[in-house]
Amino acid sequence: MHGATWVEQAFNLACGLLLLTAVGALWRRETSALIPILTVQGGALTAIAVMLAAGHPDGGQAVLVAVVVGLLKVVIIPLLLRRVHRLVRNARETRPLVNVATSLLAAAGLCLLAYAAARPLVAVAESPTARATPVGLSLVLIGFFLAATRHRAISQIVGLLLIDNGIAATAFLATDGVPLIVELGVCADLVLAVLVLQVLTARMVHTFGDGDLDDLRELHD
């Protein structure tokens, strides 16, 4: 095996960045820190899309998909998140359901599971990029874990975004390019979900004074 070209190295770097930022989101508890982390992750995802588009025989559509993804993940979503953040300044996950150290350990476990579960996918896929599919799956699991164990509404948004980044990464890596219409549909869904959560946060802050989701339990019966 010859040494990896710089494209392959950049590709590996982007995949590594994806995973690292996911773990970072689990590690940092300040909301203000989460937004840059997500922006970086969006950038890494865009980089993967661009690199795949460059190697794609029918590049036009793939480039368009990459542009859409970049626009959404690097510009629009951080913008929306900042608006949420302005509502709840100095928001911190003071008491997550699972503490940070245990969370990081759990993330390691989830990554192992993702790699184990994705083996058949890697085996059937032809493209060399498909070997990175487990990264996407890990992102999904970590995102779920984050959403399930944190109190703040904004953490739920971040968890959702991690899940979506993971799904998008899996789609890019495992398939030979995502059709534009599918990607557009997914993007529209995501923007809608973030908007809904933003409204939810705003109402919660308005009603309860902070964005702690456990306050919602009062609504049950």
Binding site: A117, Q156, H220
Partner: protein, 672 residues
Amino acid sequence: MNVVAASLSAAGGLAVAGAISAVLFGRSVRAALVGLLTAPAGAAAAVAGAAAAGGVSWSLAAPYLLPLTGVELAVDPLSGWFLLLIGAVTAVTGVYTVGYAGRQGHGPGARPSLVLLPLFAASLMLVPVAASVPTLLVGWELMAVTSLLLVLTEHRHAPAVRDAGIWYAALTQLGFVALLIGLVWLAGTAGGPSFAAIRAGARDVDAATASVVFLLGLIGFAGKAGAVPLHPWLPRAHAESPSHVSALMSAAMVKLGVYGLLRLGFDLLGGGAPWWWLLLAAVGAISALYGITQAAVARDIKRMLAFSTSENVGLILLGVGFAGMYAQAGNSTAAVLALAAALLHAANHGAFKALLFAGAGSVVRATGTRDMDRLGGLVRTMPATTVLFAGGALAAAALPPGNGFVSEWLLLQSLLHPGPDAGPMLTIAAPIAVAVVAATAGIGVATYVKAVGTGFLARPRSDRAATARESPPSMVVAMVLAGLACVALAVVPGLTIPVLSRIAGDLRLAPPGGTVAASTFALRVEAATLWPLWTVVGIVAGTAAVAVAARALGRARRRAPAWDCGGGPLTERMEYTATSFAEPLQRVFDNVLAPERDVDVTHADESRYHVAAIRFHQRIPDRVENRIYRPLVTALRSLGERVRPLANGSVHRYLGYMLVALLAVLVVGVLR
């Protein structure tokens, strides 16, 4: 670009334009615009359907339209027949909407309702031209969703509308899930989602799988057709939705259930086993009998029409079932005849039920009530509606010279000739079916005599009925159009024979190129084609002759007061109401219907032998619903109550469930 492609694109374009114009324009012109765009959309679809039924073929594959599978469209004579039916009903409904939705801007004239109407019509047109499983399912679901929202149009007025919406949503989704599983399973086993691939691969599908697929299809398609026992949505949805929607649903949408069964059973699965068709015929027979007995005792005019839809769909399914059984027994002549009767009855029912629902809508709009006990006397205030409704009732009662008679007569013909070498199953089933058709026709006459007699004739039994005003011209024009379709189908049904035999050939009921079978079919139906026209001529001539003879030979007429038993002038309290007219029938079917009666007698204070007041209250419940669905709903509800602690309101708990489920699936995947 052939005529089918051009007309279908015109229909789609006009429907979309109708929806957009409903969004853009204000309430003063909205209904008129939508109606006048929907009507030509329907007409264009009817042209496409007629061309396709006449043998013009067309297909389109648009892989870019739906992700993963794409959209595939194609027409053949079978889809053409149903497209023609749907297009014609849509055209009538479009014209009707102009006056019915009016300018008031709420109810049927509200923006959402008018946006959805052309979209519903378009989804109806999409279903019969779909040529692959995903396309069919998308069209089917679109049709279900748009019609559900249209049913809910008047949800602010009555809680019954919301109830109807819930029943419709639940049963239509049950049917959709059954179809989804069945058709996807079929596509998976036969080797591809397109109908062409399924047709080619159907031979490799083993009998057990094919049977399960057919049963799942039966749940989905017969449920949409309103067959008993999947019918409880139908009387509710048809009664509570605005009348133009009821007309579209009853005259067009339920027929797509029949279309689906024909497409799945004969075309895709290639005929299957005799018991499939026996089961279908049994479902049809039960629907016909149950539907007409409920219709006979209904007081609500739209509920009556809805149950009559169940009855007519039952007769159609009976015909389809016998077509299948005959085909399996090798009697292709009777098979073709039964299929032709079923298809013709579908068209006839579409024509007269569109007319009747339009008439009922006109009555409800003028009087504000659907209760026939409170109607009466409309013949003087609404003469056009009365005449047209009576014409539709004549057709629906399957009396000559109505068009319903033609197809029911054809059905009887096919049932009466099972052939000498029919197996024991047919020898037993055919006479029973004859009895069912005869009983239905008899009760049907009573039902429609009740509807016209107590609803429109005699004296008004409420103030609203007395002060009713005739509907706007567009509604009358729409009813006249539907009436003309009935007349055409009654007088020259023979024109449809080439199309019907082409469909039978396509569905492999008649041996391809078998000249002998084709000629016997032509001969027998030749007898049936000439008949209706001569029936009409004979009845008209006979009636005229009797009238003329009575004038010329009888005694001179004199005017005298009607006999009133010496009780003073006749009042409307002495008239037959819908309830009292149906009472003898209800007594006959007491064991089947199990009506709930309450008689409250209030005695005078002074003596209990003196009665101060009597209140009589009667309700005829749907027994099938009470026996099958109520226990099911109760069981589901108690299950829901029991698992309630699982959902304690914590978002984290819910997310945790999802995470655990995902992890469990992944772990199982790794370990396996």
